[in-house]
Amino acid sequence: MIFGGILAGGIGSRMNMADMPKQFLNLGDKPMVVHTLEKFLLCPKIEQIYIGVHPNWVLHMEDLVNKFINIRKDCVHIVSGGGDRNVTIMNIVDAVERDYGESEEHYIITHDSVRPFVTSRIINDNIDTVLSHNICDTVIAATDTIVVSEDGNMISDIPVRSKMYQGQTPQSFQVNLLKKLYRALGEEEKAVLTDACKIAVVQNEPVYLVKGEPSNLKITTVSDYKVAQAMVGGKVVD
């Protein structure tokens, strides 16, 4: 089975514009997480969708699903998220296995709830790639030169730009492989490796690339939010 895992565990500390976590802010007439969820619901290959939400916001998310979602509502499951991104993903994996058992045929397409501009093309390319290669990450080629600085004061390296990509989501995994890779990490590594694909990379497990879109932006800051509102022609709520 193919599952969607929408990561909505953030508490919005970087936005500083409202007490509400950013994924619950309106984009146009609906909260961002609802837009993201609807895109996944309109992909027929994704059979069930799990949303990982901070425990304090589970009821709020339930209300949003009841209020806004009118298609395939019974495919939507809300999971209490953990302290970081990977814990939230693993909570979703636990919920998937509780509901549908363990299987080598289980795949999960994980996605940031604050990337509501994801396209069905990107989702479908993730599905095709994870089915053939077990792990994939969505990226776009870097347009700016990437500069590395070890100390934050001086440049320590400027990598060749043509080899640089910017990571987006979805990130997709064969569920059993993801579990195996995560369990192989020590507690210290788990705390440091906040990107799910990096868990695979550090263990030399191949991660394939899927082409993203510049428009699949992550709405993290106030200016991102203003750009996103302008893109959909909505009003900015400050």
Binding site: G28, D29, P44, N70, I71, R72, F117, S120, S215
Partner: protein, 337 residues
């Protein structure tokens, strides 16, 4: 849900409109296959008048499309059903005036966004199931329905002497009109008049094909379908008026950007009926689908369809439009956006 709408903003330039889609009351469809029409090319290449382009753009092109139902709030269509999309937006309801001519009627890809979109929402009555027809062929159902529409009107209007019917034009529309006429009137001789010997050689089902320059003076037909459009309209209409028998019916189907001079003296003298036929309605789509279920007809359609590579980016849309200009008949492509 934020829907991606791929709009033509100026000839040769697409831009994405991010549209907050409200799908509550309509059927949601994922487009699967599309086909390019001359009308799309005229916008894409900027052949329309500047004032028209200024008024109608930005706009998503494409009105020939089939897709998959994702959700129907009315429950009449099931998720996964394959449907053809009707681009007509009906105008004032009338028991006499057909939906595609009614006042207030609209058309998706003429002043409103066409089907170059990530997802499409339409009322349930704008969708026709195409079970039994491969998607690649179903993509051109709208085009077939336009031919079906003209034949339906012809059947209502023309007198009963239908021994010889002439079809002017050697393009895709002419191919389908001539083929459907042969099916609808097996006792009639269907004669196709064109300019390009290579294209005419595809019309093996016709009783006769004639190069326009070689039309004999004594050539006669009872009725005629003009399927040329553009600059060819003038010459085709001129030929038709010259060679048609009295009280014949002339079905005009080709679109011309310029005004066309017509020999009205002979139109009057012969008592001709000159009928404009444009677009189609639901009944014509249903008729087209019924015809297209016939495997022999499917094989015929296959001959005039070029399937381009899947479209998965804006660059691919440009490629499909460029490819279409270099193919003699219809270009279809799988929609992967």
């Amino acid at each position: 849900m934020i829907n991606y709408v791929y709009q033509l903003v100026a000839p040769g330039t697409f831009s994405v409109k991010y549209e907050e889609a409200q799908f509550e009351s309509q059927v949601i469809i994922k487009p699967r296959y599309m086909s390019i029409c001359h009308a799309d090319q005229r916008y894409y290449t900027g052949q329309r008048e500047r004032s028209i382009l200024d008024r109608k753009l930005p706009m998503a092109l494409i009105h020939e499309c089939c897709g998959e139902v994702l959700f129907d709030p009315s429950g009449k269509l099931k998720s996964g059903e394959e449907v053809v999309l009707i681009p007509n937006v009906p105008g004032e309801h009338s028991d006499i005036i057909l939906e595609n001519y009614a006042k207030g009627a609209g058309f998706l890809s003429s002043g409103r966004d066409g089907f170059l979109r990530e997802f499409i929402s339409l009322p349930e009555d704008r969708l026709v199931r195409h079970e039994g027809i491969p998607q690649k062929l179903a993509a051109i159902t709208e085009f077939v329905s336009v031919a079906a529409h003209s034949i339906r009107r012809f059947d209502c209007i023309s007198h009963g002497i239908r021994n010889r019917i002439g079809v002017w034009g050697d393009g895709s529309l002419s191919f389908i009109v001539a083929n459907l006429l042969k099916q609808a009137y097996p006792g009639s001789e269907i004669i196709v008049i064109g300019k390009n010997p290579g294209k005419l050689s595809y019309f093996t089902f016709a009783d006769e094909t004639i190069l326009r320059d070689e039309l004999p003076a004594q050539f006669e037909i009872d009725h005629a379908f003009e399927c040329c459009g553009g600059d060819g309209s003038y010459y085709a209409i001129e030929d038709i008026i010259n060679h048609i028998n009295p009280q014949g019916t002339v079905m005009l189907m080709g679109v011309s950007e310029n005004r066309v001079a017509v020999n009205t003296r002979d139109v009057l003298e012969k008592g001709l009926a000159v009928i404009g036929s444009s677009r189609s309605g639901r009944a014509d789509f249903e008729q087209a689908v019924s015809w297209m279920k016939n495997e022999r007809f499917q094989r015929r359609l296959d001959m005039i369809i070029f399937e381009d590579e899947k479209v998965s980016s804006v660059e691919d849309i440009h490629r499909a439009f460029r490819m279409d200009r270099n193919t003699p008949f219809k270009t279809v492509f799988e929609w992967g956006l």
